[in-house]
Symmetry: D2
Subunit: 397 residues, 4 copies
């Protein structure tokens, strides 16, 4: 048994299985993938990697499995799954997720093909573990898999605390130890028992508050939009194979872009020197037609149209219409007095988060500083903006 | 300028005024008053005192006044008020608050008489500060006084973080620095500017979560009920003058009770040895008639009636019907785009807390372990209990 | 299995044995004994109790026993000993230690008589544990007992971290988890293995730095001297039985003193209002004759002499000549490459601490502010002071 | 005034000058340079960048300048110097330092040429600051410059706390606030006043303990040796211009190596997949001839000789003979009772650190796992090893 120091959990214990898996290239690669993409442009401390998050997730999964009944093999498969759950991520984690899904039709949780390769499958064989069970756990298709992929799972707990630790944002502090102590299986469903209700509420509120402050910060989103536009350009021009993109690490894609002498190289330079595009438009649901979400499919057409009307280059207008994400944790189950309730039935505060979360949604149109006024005018008219929406003035470096 | 180490804020600076005031007996007495009454029966670390909270409140008040425009004298008066705001507390802080108010008709914020005494008034004269202004600040009657006594004030911020630190409960972590940076005066109202909205939401949610976990933990409430009944007994029998009670510290009232050889002495012994009464009834609003709140006036009559019906001694039944406290922070003002909104208008999550907070309310009937069943039966019938309500099983030492 | 929240270790698990022991009056009494005596006069946060320290010591002892081979009964006896190791402390912990030893000839580790009483012995019988073994563990007479009472034990680890946490002084941060992981038994001696050398060095340095900053701070020492003089006065006048003193808690002795209307009452009032005596003399070894240590036996005679010469009341001169404490940790064993070494042989830095620690020693003569100059003159001549020694100017509240 | 969140200092304030400087490419580049080189191979959290360290150093420098008397311009120049002090670092910070110095004859503190470029000099002109003064401050040639570059400076304080925070190693916790409060200028020398002695001791001991645990961990050193050998190979073969190396960021040099298809590419692959060379020899001063330090000049010749004798490829033997670094802090000045002392005169504990630090020195010979035994034999004989030295078994991932 070895231990490794982790700034978030103190010490993480590693048994032989964990050490073998860690020594494979798919896991070592996660050392070179930042957890929070471009958030370090806003929070200079946010340089943490998917690797440490993977160790942390395994640590919490071990803690939870200790209090449930299952065979050693089942527990080991789950712990392996916890450790491996993020090996399907492309460079910069969530930043490239949509692009990779669009061009390779593979979700990041779909890691069967990576697991099957000799390097990992050999280790699993040696320890008598099933690749196929591990893959199913990661997809959240199994009962046990709920521990790492369900409405309330240890993956979320680890990233929330970890992101809070490295950004320095206080909101991510949750009582994960109590939370885990209060979780158990009931008829194959992972449920939170009543004593864990406050901890669960706290978890949801934390995540809710991290959205506008960290995960949806406009500076990261602008850098992300610029980066993705640049990468897509390379894909569309057959300069970059999307399957290869998926296997790259952060350095590789950064240098790939940097060595390009056209638009992609220019975008990378701008990000590196922090000469980011600016917001020409930034609007919440209250100011735009709700159908705006349907226009997500035609982003490039819209960008082209606005650019033409504003008299700027097509690629100088970036339209960013995020999905309206759900707070899945609401569907977590609470077990109280022998009855099962969904979390939003058991808690007034959780029930309200759906609407509150909608308030955090923003769409944006970004463009170089010098075109801001022109593009703003056209974009406002294009989206038939009801009134100029609030623009948060946040610090960003 | 001296500095003192504070586990919560790191270092607190003390100027001459602060040092002089700290050296007076009303402030030194606060060293001997625990901040959280009997919470240390549940959270062994919760032994912190009103004294350190007073220093912390002054520290945050100084931070806030640094960013507003006011004369040095005004600022000094406010800082003095922050330091002195709790000198009116009786032993064990909030535990004796209702009792002292009932028998002395004085609220704990009403400290004019204490300020007027030579010890403090001399210092204020010397520094050219007005006692009367300081008293008004503490009562929250002035514009500047909102900093330490209003819907969102630094008093609350300090105690929330401090209570979290000493109990070890994670929920109290708030982003108080951001909060303070985002507060300003607008037309004599202390308002939170838009960039502080998330921090304000976080503050409210924290307080909300601290209620069931710490402030309203049933073990503290049982000890509190036993203690108050014992003290009231002494007052009713003219053994203890309520004015004297108000000036006591924790040790004094503890020894006063311990030296009594009747019921009060017995209650103190039970608390000290942790042989607490148990819950015969513990019910939320959903199980009792709402008019129960009106019965707060006749507690002793009810206790007597239940005791008689259950065939136990009158003082062996303690009925605890807490007030339905308001979350005043909802009425804090948010300034956004030149408009003023109440916090519950600006935030979905805050709007819901009123109902959620109602869920935290519990009434209780407590009695020695051996009478539990008898009393339970009578009490359930007395309060016409709709159904046995949930009983949280929390750890307590 | 219950858990209790601890600000230092997060969560502490309590099994049935622990819960039963905690529910006894000797352990409940520790809630009312401050860990650091009068240190809260300097560090306002230092209000923590022996109770939480006892829980923490048991927690660390459990952690260490998990990695050694021993029977369940042996482990339980050790854990019980860890929990109970401080029940022999008098009020204010170390403050009254010398006085109690002087007048009752009992050391605080000698708790056999307390253990034998029905309350605790009954529980031990029920769990098949031997009172006598537990007592021996606490005295450090057994092999296993080294875990809680030896050169490097978990008692010291817990109080170091805990005192740092509550005072806010950074120096107490040690890597106790690594330390514990690197400890093992070798031929019935508890040894630190080589990988734990740095952690052990860090532990010693921490304790060394905590001495002048916290444990030996002159303000606590002055209050302590005043308090002890007052208590001894009561003992000498047969007003207070030293056996009774030993069983008191902080509130009891405080009120006992406060209710006295002579010198003891006056000392208590002075401490409560922080009108402490001042240093008329404060000198290190470099300025006094080394034989000064031998004069510890005649303190009262010296006080009398100085007082007479200075023309002040006898009890207005307090002479404080502390023992020259040893850093026992130096004799801890390090096991490296199959050889055993004492810690000060294995580490250059530890070897030096003995001399360095000598530098921290100070003797003091304290007197009311108004007599300072008179007493200073006489005391300097009495102790044949070579030169006026350095006087640290530290902040104290 | 903007603020940015920093996990170490909480909030860092940025005025206009700081914001302008931060927006330049030399500072933005520091976002892409890891502070601790390859330490993340041992401590997965150690991904922090020179950028945040630069902000932190400026923050502490501002704190210190607030308490000294100097003109606003002088203070601004110093703050600029604190922010810019690391812009001369090559990729991976100290990892490439020796190599860059060897081939470009430029030290990393020598940043005049970078400052002179339009981007930064323009900003300095605008704010009326002298480039030349700033460069001198960074070199530690000025009185004020001692704040950021001298025996005890804020640069060291920030990196110590920051490295501790991100590695999770407890030893780096120091009382930097007290330290700074106790520093002042005396006759143009930055001195620590007596009240800061313990804080200074703590600082030195912390750094001393961080050496074996973090800075000199053998795993980082092996990776570093492999990396440097690979980079030097590129330089010697004229594939990489050392001036260009100096301006690269981590991604650039990583990709440069990765795209090489010879030895450098192989080394990079091995580092990325953590197939590191192993220690064939690892020895302290007690086992080798002290003249070994003189052999630092002929490393490649030694490597060649050992490789030939062992029958392995030349580049498969890496010899690592580190400099015997001095603990410069010993020469910091302490001012006590009007006298000046060097820190090692004022403190027993510091006096001993020189010898203790020597104990931390290790030389190593590294080679692929499969050649370990062969190389070990030859190397032991080559260095005339007295006895096999202790090999710490530490966890590394």
């Amino acid at each position: 048994m070895k231990v490794v120091r982790d700034p978030v959990h103190g010490y993480i214990e590693l048994d032989k299985l964990a050490i073998s898996l860690i020594d494979t290239s798919p896991l070592q690669r996660l050392r070179r993938i930042r957890q929070l993409g471009f958030s370090n442009l806003v929070y200079p401390g946010a340089n943490h990697s998917r690797f440490e998050h993977s160790l942390g997730t395994m640590h919490l999964a071990s803690m939870l499995t200790e209090q449930i009944e299952a065979s050693e093999d089942d527990k080991n498969e789950l712990r392996a799954a916890a450790l491996l759950h993020d090996i399907g991520h492309g460079p910069l984690s969530h930043v490239t997720e949509d692009l990779i899904e669009k061009y390779t039709r593979t979700k990041h949780e779909d890691v069967k093909s990576i697991l099957k390769k000799e390097e990992i499958s050999g280790i699993c064989d040696e320890h008598g573990l099933s690749i196929s069970n591990i893959a199913d756990h990661i997809m959240g298709k199994t009962a046990l898999g709920q521990i790492i992929n369900s409405e309330i799972d240890v993956d979320r707990m680890d990233y929330l605390i970890r992101d809070a630790h490295y950004t320095g944002v206080a909101y991510g502090i949750i009582d994960h130890i109590r939370m885990i102590h209060k979780m158990q299986f009931h008829e194959n469903r992972l449920v939170v028992t009543e004593g864990g209700l406050n901890a669960a509420e706290s978890l949801l509120v934390s995540r809710f508050l991290m959205y506008p402050t960290v995960y949806f910060h406009h500076v990261s989103r602008i850098a992300e939009s610029m980066f993705n536009r640049a990468v897509e350009e390379l894909i569309l021009n057959d300069k970059l194979n999307p399957q290869r993109l998926r296997r790259m690490d952060d350095s590789q894609i950064f240098e790939f872009l940097r060595n390009d002498d056209g638009y992609p190289g220019e975008m990378m330079r701008r990000i590196n020197e922090r000469q980011l595009y600016k917001r020409a438009l930034y609007a919440g649901f209250e100011s735009v037609d709700e159908n705006v979400l349907k226009q997500r499919k035609h982003i490039h057409r819209i960008e082209k149209e606005i650019a033409e009307d504003a008299g700027v280059e097509e690629k100088e207008v970036l339209v960013d219409i995020p999905r309206l994400s759900q707070i899945e944790e609401m569907n977590a189950l609470i077990r109280s007095n022998g009855k099962m309730l969904y979390l939003d039935q058991a808690s007034h505060i959780v029930a309200t988060l759906e609407n509150a979360h909608r308030d955090n949604w923003r769409m944006g149109v970004y463009t170089p500083k010098e075109h801001r006024e022109k593009v703003k005018k056209v974009a406002e008219s294009f989206f038939d903006l009801k009134k100029q929406t609030r623009q948060y003035k946040l610090t960003d470096l």
